[in-house]
């Protein structure tokens, strides 16, 4: 019924736990199960007497950690567990009463057993209100998983013969394919920056370069109408042609204006808004959306994932779960500030000004349980009234390419004012999204458990590699977007028509606005495709490519 998460390696049991299991199997655990009590907040404790206070049988103490022997049920405090084990031979394994966690007396350490955790969590699930307990106990839907994998491979497999043949003799063979400056057509750096990232999103790039977009037979073009997908195809062909002179994506701009009429102007636009709008345009222009199931347009196949939102009633523990698709994730900057509790008197950190925001911190913030305000009381199905509740987000399914958007523009509709947050944010080049998956987040609700029970994504990896960073400099009204591309272990700065190779320190120090990560396997495969000869040692690392052939 429940599958184990292979990503989470279970620690090997100590000798004593192994001995205990051999001799007693699961009988001790099963007996214990009835005595476990759970709270709505996810804590499981062992309570064998409802009214009596558990006390150590040696010293009568009740204030330390108390451990219940799995064999004879006698309770000892942390100072006397060893004494108990010495008195009774073989009574080595105990349970922390308050936390329902296994403890080996002889190793003096916590030990883990998935079978034990399974039993604890089963009890927990049984105690929760019946419907919608927030935990999906159905077997993983393998068929849809397989379909998605195949889809991913399909975007990837159709291979590089075409790429190689497109290489123009004029191409500077020391630089990777697909590096070409884009002319600014009038405050269009917002578009250029996003296009550079899209050009190198592995599955997206492959789709357009391997002829899956057959623009010859496009119905729209034949009837002289605009087709965004065709224009993107033409754009890709031009950039990967090997011609290094800066390209003007005028047709694409015009095509996009037709789609997003409200954004059609020469004013500065938001790059993130453009990104969403282009994906939306691709979706609408492309394959007819199906009524059921997932959309198979290239935008969705590459960028779409699924978010899970759990709202838990704080009174009874009933959890309502909803799933929503996403094309990107917008993150608030983590500032290390505590919402309540004035720490001015006893500050834990020396000075709040030295706190550095990190991407992982933002992701932690995103998946942190959030108490909903008293004005947002959630109607609990179980209690049949509005209750205080806690909301928690997690990622149910990761996309092939993950776009993370940092919310740097704050809007205050009441004051009719907007401002930009310039705070620096540190970001990694390799990102493991495992802690933010629903399987990890939901598992953590039940305390310190090794056992996972969601239909885990055993096939898809959670490791991502960065390939593009869109940065913003300046103010909200007058700023400039620049994209850094990570190709074949070298970083390139794409500033409209100017492309230069840069050191990774420059990228790390930049003010990121949108981060593009690709699943590790796809990223490495894509880099193999970019036929490239090593740069000669004499070459100036800052030699611009733009304008020279």
């Amino acid at each position: 019924m429940m599958s184990r998460n292979s990503m989470y390696t279970n620690p090997k049991p100590c000798k004593h736990l192994a001995d205990y299991k051999l001799r007693h199997g699961l009988s001790g655990y099963n007996l214990l199960q009835e005595q476990i009590r759970t709270t709505p907040s996810g804590k499981s404790s062992v309570k064998n007497h409802q009214t009596e206070i558990p006390r150590c049988c040696f010293c009568n103490g009740y204030q330390k950690r108390l451990y219940l022997c799995l064999i004879c049920s006698s309770i000892s405090c942390s100072s006397h567990t060893l004494l108990h084990s010495q008195c009774e031979n073989g009574h080595d394994i105990a349970v922390d009463i308050e936390r329902s966690e296994l403890y080996c007396v002889l190793c003096c350490d916590q030990v883990y057993d998935p079978d034990f955790d399974k039993i604890v969590m089963l009890k927990h699930l049984m105690d929760l209100p019946r419907s919608g307990n927030g935990v999906d106990v159905s077997a993983g839907r393998r068929s849809s998983k397989r379909r998605r994998l195949c889809s991913a491979l399909e975007l990837d497999l159709k291979k590089t013969k075409q790429l190689v043949s497109m290489r123009d003799l004029r191409a500077k063979s020391c630089y990777p394919l697909g590096l070409r400056g884009l002319n600014n057509l009038g405050s269009t750096c917002f578009m250029n920056s996003v296009l550079q990232a899209l050009l190198h999103a592995p599955p997206f790039r492959n789709y357009f370069l391997t002829g899956q977009r057959n623009h010859e037979v496009c119905r729209k073009r034949s009837s002289d109408r605009l087709c965004l997908l065709c224009d993107i195809y033409v754009f890709f062909s031009a950039v990967f042609s090997g011609d290094r002179t800066p390209y003007s994506p005028a047709q694409l701009l015009y095509s996009w204006w037709q789609h997003s009429a409200n954004l059609a102007s020469y004013e500065q636009q938001d790059a993130h808004e453009f990104f969403i709008s282009v994906l939306d345009g691709i979706h609408e222009n492309g394959v007819k959306a199906r009524n059921t199931g997932e959309c198979h347009c290239v935008a969705h196949r590459v960028f779409s994932g699924q978010l899970r939102s759990d709202v838990t009633c704080m009174s009874c523990g009933y959890t309502s779960t909803t799933y929503d698709p996403f094309m990107d994730i917008s993150l608030n900057l983590d500032t290390g500030n505590c919402p309540s509790t004035d720490l001015a008197n006893k500050s834990l950190k020396p000075s709040d000004n030295t706190y550095v925001s990190t991407l992982l911190g933002c992701l932690d913030l995103f998946t942190k349980p959030e108490k909903l305000g008293s004005d947002q009381k959630f109607f609990c199905e179980n209690c049949q009234e509005r209750q205080d509740s806690v909301k928690q987000m997690s990622i149910k399914r990761l996309p092939l390419v993950l776009c993370l958007h940092i919310k740097r523009f704050e809007h205050f509709p009441v004051r009719r004012m907007s401002r930009k947050i310039d705070r620096y944010m540190q970001f990694p080049f390799c990102l493991d999204m495992n802690p933010y998956l629903s399987s990890s987040v939901v598992r953590n609700r039940f305390g310190n458990r090794m056992f996972a029970f969601e239909g885990d994504e055993l096939d898809t990896s959670t490791e991502f590699e960065i390939f593009a960073v869109v940065t913003h400099s300046g103010t909200l009204d007058s700023g400039h977007y620049v994209t850094y591309l990570h190709l074949k272990d070298q970083w390139y700065k794409c500033d409209d028509a100017w492309i230069t190779a840069v050191e990774e320190e420059v990228v790390r120090a930049s003010q990121c606005y949108m981060l593009f990560y690709a699943q590790k396997m796809l990223y490495y495969k894509a880099n193999e495709d970019l036929v490239c000869q090593p740069v000669s040692p004499r070459a100036d690392p800052f030699l611009p490519i733009a304008g020279c052939c």
């Binding site: 206070i53 009568n60 942390s78 916590q110 505590c338 509790t341 720490l343 006893k346």
Partner: protein, 115 residues
């Protein structure tokens, strides 16, 4: 003649060797029992947990544990070690407002159950 009269009202001498269980519970124990029975202790624990998470105390303890584990080596550290190492630091770094709030709650509980 001063006849020694045995006082029939005199209470029996307490047996020093008697088990601890038969001794009168201390005030602390009485309060603790009352708090557990009424469920107040559990509520206070939840409240404390929430406050300590909110103000970053738990994250601070986590990073102390991580630092200690890194120094000693992952396989040379037990939970007991960690508890011993961080307990004094943890106790000392609980923010005053949190302490004040908890004390206030306990005070009002005592006031409400005063007999």
């Amino acid at each position: 003649m001063s006849a020694k009269r045995s006082s029939i009202n005199r209470p029996p001498t307490p047996d020093v060797d008697r088990d601890r269980e038969n001794q009168e519970p201390t005030l602390q124990e009485i309060i603790n029992i009352k708090m557990i029975e009424s469920g107040e202790k559990e509520r206070l624990k939840e409240l404390l947990r929430e406050r300590l998470i909110e103000c970053g105390w738990r994250d601070e303890m986590k990073s102390l544990c991580r630092a200690y584990t890194r120094k000693k080596g992952r396989n040379n550290v037990t939970v007991d070690d960690l508890v011993h190492v961080i307990t004094p630091k943890g106790r000392a770094s609980v923010p005053d407002p949190v302490k004040a709030e908890l004390l206030q709650r306990i005070r009002s509980f005592l006031a409400s159950t005063a007999t």
